[in-house]
């Protein structure tokens, strides 16, 4: 074990040596994996020992074991960070100086990682003291570094110096700095100081170092040691250019022009490839722009490239990679570093870069060929990145113009050619591996996106120059060709696994958005092209019918529809899509609607969709996948009638039709009003009531269809005919229910599957209709509900063992009551209340004390889950009654007839409560069958049931707290069993892990106690016997409920863990509790005080208890003011005492 170093006393040599050996031994045994626990303990004690600096320096200087030196360096760092404030200024400087000297003196050491570590320790210490050192002190250190970088001590030292600056810059950059246990402001101040005073100097040092060695490298080759220095300097320069420059606030008002030419504001747009825009500001102009520095780096790279043109490996060697990265970063230079009045400055800068970069990417075909025959692709990829960087900082016109001075074509043409070449490579080699062409394609697509993405401030500013439009058109044609080719090739792929499919769909979507931008840039050409491609494929289908397999053509059509859909409209995401600007403005001169290219294209698609109405064509051609293409489904109701009737069992397609197509139609009233006039809509409604096939839709779709059809009634102007429409629509369902419930042999036939199927379908429809409650059709829906009340009760009896039907019945009632309750007149309310109570009683009599028996644990847990769902539905029913007191649209004002909602809900809860055992409120053990082979599915099931249970619990406590808060007086009248049950659940809820539930319980408690206090002070009974102590069956005195909760709450507040959000609600509950039970509170407080052994804690605690009830002029009134004061008091109290109460 490590001996601690006494202050100031220098340990003797022998001791140092023996400790060093111990450390060395530990390091090597960790490497050999022998006795590593003890070794780790040794190293840990080194790291944690007090003032280990002498020892560590000794190890660094003398140890032969590199790992030991590494550990010593990190121990210096840890100890210094820990003890920084107790070190003297000389100690601090001594440590930094030592590290720096160490790095410089051993620059040629072969163990690079030790050097790097010491260098980074020096950087971290330097940062730690940055704000306390004087300028002169910093200069001393930096002078030493500068001397090294100039190169007077040789190449190795020069490299070490650069290396140190790299560490230093990365320490000061917020995203890469190491934690020091200091606030953010410290790091921010360091960052600012470095950026303002040193960053540019460092950059110039690096630049000078690179320049100084460049000549030697150009002469000799990549093997000379100078290459290391050069690579390091280039890396440092790149790192500095990547710095997140903050606009200089003092000069901002004068200097920064947010709208300076070329700089685009949409830099945050999501990108697949990284591109950081560098904006160092005007101060850097001399270093970066005017010094001819860019020219040097471009020509340096060009010279080396020329020299090593034969060696394939060279493109990937570090110096080449760093140089290219630096050049790419220069492309993204923007902002006030360029003179704001001088547009040519940036242009010249970019041109200079581009003239170097052009050799990497032009001519595209030759380069692609070279890569395919083995040349490294890294250079062309960097070229693509450079184009992306340029596209990010300039507008499309300027972008295109750049190249014109050195080539006969514009940059857009080059971009288009380059991308075409990439796509051609992709088409010839269809492999699943991600090759360079994929990466290049993504970067180039981003480039197009950066150029074409509309800037939302000004519309239509993404116009391209004429030859740019041609370039886009050519490229788009090739893209379409390539997508079609890959579609037809993949048509017969059978097993695209679901996960992979999902991933590829989302990347496909991103790609389609970029394609659409390119396509829209040349709509005049691309829309007719797409029309032609589309009709060609359709014609092919007709010709080949019965002769050849249509699948590849179908897949091509599918892919075309996706592309067309994206070009014609942006992804709507729940909103009505708008026509994109470019499509609107580019065809402005075409007046006739019929000849409008977009119209022609749309019409041809609609025509194609219409052909699905022809049964013969349908059988031959229309597969379900094709019908899923969104753009087709945008169209007519007839198509949807057909999809619903003719594709039995295709759930996805039916869901699309019901939810996206039909449901979207009824969202706006003016669409509804034209909808209800359509013959096809009436046909749909007729089919809904008559057609067998529609009974086979699955439940969710069934519900949604009914809801949609009823909602469309809002388009009928006359209220009477709207109600009649709903009656006609739903009449078949109510009639069936009434007839069924009146059948004499109901008991016998009811359980037959062919009775259950139509019944469940109609119940789903009724539920859907009930959800479509609107003032206009309220009458008809209200009648609908009243007419099925008796049948529902009959069915509830008959199907008591058929849990799925029971649940549908309950949900149907719940949704109906929820939709109607606000409109009901008092007489109707009374009838609904009576019905609901009978329903509750019936349900309860069937289920109380019932145990399911099955051999399968799986079925048992299913049965439990269904119980939760039923109970949740019943609670929802009661909750919707609560809303009657808050929202009431009924016309009558006859108070005498009105129902006491609170009493009803308590009665309901009284019926339901016995079904909710405390066991049910706890999370039951769900994971019976861990050995199940489908482990993940099992977990998903468990999660789903947990979600169900927690939503049930939430529903329960929400209802409970609402009732206690709004109607505390009724709770006092509950019989003691029911009352205790309610409080038992509150007790449970207070210990629940969900803060919101605890919060609801606290609110309930507050309401209860406040009610009791107010009542008793005005001479009433309040909670009466519930609040007074009672004798339990064994004869012991039991506290009254309020005393029990006072104890519980104090225990919770003082000793248990809880979220800080709960302190205020807990204080709100505590205040009335204390007022009700002042005697007990005093007693409890005294007990706690007496328990303290430590006298100072004792006095602190007793004064704290005194303050809680006396500070801030707290009085005994339960008003807002007092609650607030008490909250403050409790907060102060907890801060004061909780710390020692919990630990002592």
């Amino acid at each position: 074990m490590m001996q601690q170093q006494p202050h100031g006393v220098a340990p003797d040599l022998a001791q140092l040596q023996s400790t060093m050996h111990a450390i060395e031994l530990a390091c090597s045994s960790i490497q050999m994996h022998t006795n590593s626990a003890a070794a780790e303990a040794t190293l840990l004690s080194l790291n944690q020992s007090t003032r280990p600096y002498k020892l560590c320096q000794f190890i660094l200087d003398n140890s032969q074991v590199a790992n030991a030196r590494f550990q010593a360096a990190s121990a210096i760092r840890d100890a210094a960070m820990r003890e920084w404030s107790s070190l003297t200024g000389d100690d601090k400087k001594g440590l930094i100086g030592f590290c720096l000297c160490y790095v410089m003196q051993r620059a040629s050491s072969p163990e690079g990682y030790v050097q790097a570590k010491v260098s980074s320790v020096a950087a971290q210490l330097m940062k730690r003291g940055w704000l306390e050192f004087t300028v002169a002190e910093k200069e001393t250190f930096l002078h030493q570094v500068n001397q090294a970088i100039i190169g007077i001590h040789g190449i190795d030292v020069q490299f070490s110096g650069i290396n140190f600056l790299e560490s230093l810059v990365s320490e000061f950059s917020p995203s890469t700095s190491s934690a020091m246990g200091l606030p953010r402001e410290f790091h921010e101040q360091c960052r600012k100081s470095l950026e303002l005073h040193y960053l540019k100097t460092f950059y110039c040092w690096a630049k000078d170092a690179a320049v100084s060695v460049s000549a030697r490298i150009s002469e000799s080759g990549t093997k000379v040691p100078e290459v290391k220095v050069c690579t390091g300097s280039l890396r440092l320069m790149l790192q500095i250019l990547n710095w997140e420059f903050q606009p200089n606030v003092t000069s901002a008002k004068a200097g920064i022009n947010v709208f300076s030419p070329g700089v685009r504001s949409d830099l945050t747009a999501s990108k697949r490839s990284d591109c950081n825009v560098a904006q160092p500001g005007a101060a850097w102009r001399d270093a970066l722009i005017s010094s001819g520095h860019v020219g040097w780096i471009v020509s340096f790279y060009a010279a080396l490239r020329e020299k090593f043109s034969t060696g394939r490996y060279w493109l990937d060697c570090p110096v080449a990679v760093s140089a290219r990265k630096l050049i790419v970063q220069f492309c993204s230079l923007a902002g006030t570093v360029f003179l704001s009045g001088d547009e040519h400055m940036q242009q010249n800068h970019l041109l200079q870069l581009l003239s170097g970069i052009i050799h990497w990417i032009d001519p595209p075909d030759a380069i692609a060929q070279a890569i395919e025959s083995g040349r490294s692709e890294s250079e062309v990829l960097d070229g693509c990145r450079a184009l992306l960087a340029i596209a990010t900082v300039v507008n499309p016109i300027l972008f295109d113009h750049l190249l014109k001075s050195i080539r006969p074509f514009g940059t857009l043409t080059l971009l288009s050619n380059l991308m075409s070449e990439v796509i051609k490579v992709q088409m010839t080699k269809r492999s699943d591996d991600e090759t360079w062409s994929w990466e290049a394609r993504d970067i180039l697509l981003d480039t197009w996106t950066a150029l074409l993405m509309p800037v939302d401030t000004s519309a239509g500013n993404t116009m391209l120059p004429l030859d740019g439009i041609n370039a886009a058109a050519n490229l788009f044609a090739l893209i379409a060709e390539s997508e079609l080719k890959s579609a037809s090739a993949s048509a017969l792929d059978e097993d695209d696994g679901d996960d992979y499919l999902q991933a590829s769909i989302s990347s496909m979507d991103e790609r389609l958005i970029s394609y659409a931008l390119i396509g829209r840039a040349a709509v005049n050409v691309t829309i007719p092209l797409l029309t032609r491609l589309f009709s060609e494929r359709v014609a092919l289908l007709h010709q080949g019918r019965g002769i050849m397999d249509p699948t590849p053509t179908l897949e091509e059509l599918y892919s075309l529809l996706l592309i067309i859909g994206h070009i014609l409209a942006d992804e709507p995401e729940g909103e009505t899509p708008l026509i994109p600007n470019s499509i609107q403005s580019d065809f402005a001169d075409t007046v006739e609607t019929q000849n409008h290219p977009v119209v022609i294209l749309s019409v041809s698609i609609i025509k194609f969709a219409e052909q699905s109405l022809n049964p013969e064509m349908r059988a031959a051609v229309f597969s379900p996948r094709l019908m899923e293409g969104k753009s087709i489904l945008d169209i007519i109701v007839r198509v949807s009638v057909t999809t619903l009737l003719s594709y039995p069992g295709e759930k996805n397609l039916q869901a699309l039709t019901c939810f996206q197509l039909l449901h979207a139609l009824v969202r706006r009233r003016h669409i509804c009003s034209s909808l209800v006039l359509l013959d096809s809509w009436r046909a749909l409604a007729r089919a809904f009531t008559n057609e067998e096939a529609l009974f086979l839709l699955n439940s969710v779709n069934q519900r949604s269809l009914a809801q949609t059809l009823v909602l469309s009634a809002s388009g009928i102007k006359n209220s009477e005919s709207a109600n009649q429409y709903v009656r006609d629509l739903m009449g078949h369902a109510t009639k069936y229910l009434i007839e069924l419930s009146n059948k004499s042999d109901l008991k016998i036939i009811s359980q037959r599957p062919d009775v259950i199927l139509p019944l469940s379908c109609l119940l789903e429809r009724l539920r859907g209709a009930a959800r479509a409650s609107e003032p206009r059709t309220q009458r008809a829906l209200c009648e609908m509900g009243f007419s099925i009340m008796t049948p529902v009760l009959v069915l509830l009896e008959v199907y008591k063992n058929e849990s799925t039907v029971i649940y549908m019945l309950l949900k149907c009632v719940v949704d109906w009551v929820d939709g109607q309750i606000a409109y009901l007149e008092s007489r109707e309310t009374a009838a609904v209340v009576e019905f609901s109570i009978r329903l509750l009683q019936l349900y309860s009599s069937h289920n109380i004390g019932k145990i399911s028996i099955s051999l399968s644990s799986n079925l048992i847990s299913e049965a439990n889950t269904e119980k939760y769902k039923d109970l949740r539905a019943l609670l929802q029913l009661l909750s919707s009654f609560c809303s009657k007191d808050l929202v009431d649209f009924s016309l009558d004002s006859d108070e005498s007839q009105s129902t006491n909602i609170a009493q009803v809900v308590y009665l309901g809860m009284h019926i339901v409560n016995p079904l909710i055992s405390l066991e049910l409120l706890k999370y039951p053990k769900l994971c019976h069958d861990v050995s199940s082979n489908n482990f993940i599915q099992k977990h998903i099931d468990v999660l789903a049931s947990l979600k169900l249970i927690s939503s049930f619990i939430w529903q329960y406590f929400a209802l409970l707290s609402h009732m206690l808060e709004v109607y505390p007086e009724t709770v006092g009248r509950l019989d003691s069993e029911a009352f205790l049950h309610v409080l038992g659940t509150l007790d449970f809820g207070l210990h629940h892990q969900d803060t919101e539930i605890v919060n609801m319980c606290l609110r309930s408690l507050k309401a209860l106690a406040a009610y009791h206090y107010k009542e008793t002070t005005s001479g009433n009974l309040g909670l009466g016997s519930h609040a007074t102590p009672v004798k339990d069956p064994r004869g012991d005195m039991q506290d009254g409920v309020l005393s029990r909760f006072l104890r519980l709450l104090l225990q919770l507040l003082l000793f248990e863990d809880y979220s800080p959000d709960l302190v205020s609600p807990a204080a709100d509950a505590l205040f009335p509790l204390i007022l009700c039970e002042q005697g007990l509170y005093q007693k409890l407080a005294n007990e706690l005080i007496e328990r303290q052994v430590n006298p100072s804690f004792k006095s602190r605690l007793s004064s704290a208890f005194h303050m809680v009830t006396n500070a801030n002029q707290l009085s005994c009134n339960l008003d807002r003011m007092n609650y607030q004061r008490f909250r403050k008091n409790v907060n102060a109290f907890l801060v004061e005492v909780r710390g020692f109460l919990r630990t002592v």
């Binding site: 017969l492 004390g849 028996i853």
Partner: protein
């Protein structure tokens, strides 16, 4: 199973049919289905497609309602499946005989004595204990495809 097996009988006799055809797409989780000639309860339904332009198929995972065994089936969603007629009747439990049979009281006052207690120990004790404590017990008997079994137990308490 072939289609001949469930021809529609005359109306008066319809209640006696053991299974009914129903489109696979309409069978939901918690519904019933016949797999390998056994009545089952569906615990999981998923749909998949054969090829990109093929039709949907339903994949059912179901549990035999009598013996608790797991069974699976794949059916094109537009085709019909057999759905068992599962009938449940409540009886008052009068007696448990020593040879493992129960004696049940039917609605019309007769007794039904042909039903065995479940063989599983845990289930057996649940019933025996309840009966032993002198509770008034009602048992639900589930019948499907010619088999019968006690499926639930309810304490109606002393009236």
């Amino acid at each position: 199973m072939s289609d001949e097996e469930h021809q529609f009988e005359s109306k008066a006799d319809a209640g006696a049919s053991k299974t009914y055809p129903q489109q696979a797409g309409t069978i939901r989780k918690n519904g019933y289905i016949v797999i390998k000639n056994r009545p089952c309860k569906v615990v999981e339904v998923s749909t998949s497609k054969t090829g990109k332009h093929g039709h949907a198929k339903c994949h059912f995972v179901a549990i035999d309602i009598f013996n608790g065994k797991k069974l699976e089936d794949i059916v094109p969603s537009s085709h019909n499946c057999d759905v068992p007629h599962v009938n449940r009747v409540d009886y008052q439990l009068i007696d448990i005989s020593e040879d493992g049979f129960v004696s049940l009281l039917t609605d019309n006052g007769n007794t039904k004595d042909d039903l065995r207690l479940p063989s599983d120990e845990a289930l057996l004790t649940q019933i025996k204990d309840g009966f032993g404590e002198g509770k008034d017990l009602v048992v639900s008997v589930m019948a499907a495809m010619g088999e019968e079994q006690i499926c639930a137990l309810k304490d109606v308490g002393p009236k």
